[in-house]
């Protein structure tokens, strides 16, 4: 199982039944593949349908029905079309139960940086700032290090996405919960030791008792 699959399977376990969930494009969108079949969830994409379904069979695409990445999707029974004002009203108004986003850095305060690298990558924040500022639970799904460099750091050097402590960080090596006291190491990845996690993490990690291995969907 590669790193991304581990992350997606672990994040899938965080999703509660009968909730509204936004999955970012890329790695986060993989989470939908590992959702237990008895968990009913409405997926929202910020471009505007509540109740996004799987990719349609070839030839049955609707040009007016795509996800936020522009990929063709379907709508589940009971889906609702909404415009961008309603979409972000749901996001900022606390109606979105969970968002799963990628990350460039997360720091000991639990702050996320995931939208720009000054002088290099300036794609724009899209909906990321609203999602992190507004969703009830913000889960960061990312590989633990970038080219060997730790992404979990004492303080983000990249511009922040929001002044908001994220709810959970899930990597292939660890599940980490930012708290008022700092980053608490909740679970270790399959076959990964706490020492290895600490070596790959620049931020201080708090461990409380034994750290269990993460379950995977």
């Amino acid at each position: 199982m590669d790193a991304k699959e581990i992350i997606a399977r672990r994040v899938a376990l965080e999703i509660q039944p009968d909730t509204l969930v936004n999955l970012g494009i890329g790695l986060p969108s993989m989470v939908a593949n590992y959702l237990p079949s008895d968990v009913q969830v409405f997926f929202q994409a910020e471009n505007g349908v509540i109740g996004l379904g799987a990719r349609p069979p070839e030839g049955m695409e609707d040009p007016n029905l795509t996800d936020a990445g522009g990929s063709f999707v379907t709508a589940v029974p009971g889906a609702a079309s909404i415009d961008s004002a309603m979409s972000f009203g749901l996001i900022r108004g606390g109606h979105l139960d969970m968002t799963v986003l990628g990350g460039l850095q997360v720091d000991e305060r639990g702050y996320l940086a995931n939208w720009m690298v000054p002088g290099k990558m300036v794609p724009g924040m899209g909906g990321a700032m609203d999602l992190v500022a507004g969703a009830r639970h913000v889960v960061v799904a990312m590989v633990h290090t970038a080219k060997g460099k730790p992404k979990i750091v004492p303080e983000c050097s990249l511009p922040l996405t929001a002044l908001r402590r994220v709810s959970l960080i899930v990597t292939e090596m660890a599940v980490i919960e930012p708290t008022g006291d700092g980053l608490v190491l909740r679970e270790h990845g399959p076959g990964v030791t706490v020492d290895e996690i600490e070596a790959a993490t620049e931020a201080k990690l708090i461990t409380i008792g034994d750290v269990p291995e993460m379950a995977l969907a």
Binding site: I82, S84, F88, G124, G126, D130, G134, L160
Partner: protein, 217 residues
């Protein structure tokens, strides 16, 4: 009652230097015929307000490619490297705005509100140079209203009053942009007689629409 006009006729109304609100999300729900007509006419120095600039050669990306644009206000330009290159070379001035803030700023412009008070962007580069308002013990950014000289909105169906219906993820910014420009040009897929669209199905009342394009060929 409105006469449905030819796309070329509508494009001729738009002078060099105009501020255009253009609906769409990665090209989905964009007024593609209007965009083609503006490209063909060679209008210059346009300011484009839109969620994104789509891809090179697609939707709003065509306006970027042909050099019609001097300024962009958008939430995301990451999938159009041409916009990024022209931003780096200072050919295009780009203002990046969080997506939820962008749609609310346009709504405020259309609905006569003085601005938007939002937590999105606090503690990030979005905050720079902006007024902070404290109320209810919390700090908010005051984001200013946005209006256009023209709004170019794509709709699924119109009647000859100008009432508009939208489809699925092709709603996005269109209904809000139809509120916020001096002149609103609607590009429907089809146009039906007055009375065919039920009052409860109307998403944009025809009183907001100044010009209606002929149905798609």
């Amino acid at each position: 009652m409105k006469r449905a006009i030819k796309t070329e006729e509508a494009a001729e109304m738009i002078p060099d230097g105009a501020v255009l609100l253009i609906g769409g999300f990665m090209g989905v729900g964009s007024p593609h015929r209007m965009i083609d007509a503006i490209v063909a006419r060679g209008t210059k120095e346009l300011t484009i307000v839109a969620n994104d600039t789509a891809l090179p050669g697609h939707g709003i990306g065509k306006l970027i490619s042909c050099g019609a644009v001097s300024r962009v206000i958008a939430s995301h330009i990451g999938l159009n490297p041409e916009t990024q290159d022209k931003m780096m070379s200072a050919e295009i001035e780009v203002e990046l705005v969080p997506q939820g803030t962008l749609v609310e700023r346009i709504r405020a412009g259309g609905m006569g509100l003085g601005g938007v008070l939002t937590a999105t962007g606090l503690g990030t580069p979005v905050e720079e140079g902006k007024q902070i308002v404290e109320t209810g013990g919390k700090r908010y950014l005051l984001e200013t209203p946005i209006r256009g000289d023209f709004a170019l909105v794509a709709a699924q169906r119109a009647d000859y009053v100008g009432n508009l219906e939208y489809s699925l993820t092709a709603h996005n910014f269109n209904p809000i942009m139809a509120l916020a420009a001096d002149t609103v040009i609607a590009e429907p897929q089809s146009v039906v007689p007055i009375g065919v669209i039920a009052p409860d199905a109307v998403k944009t009342p025809g009183v907001l629409v100044d010009h209606l394009l002929e149905r798609a060929a």
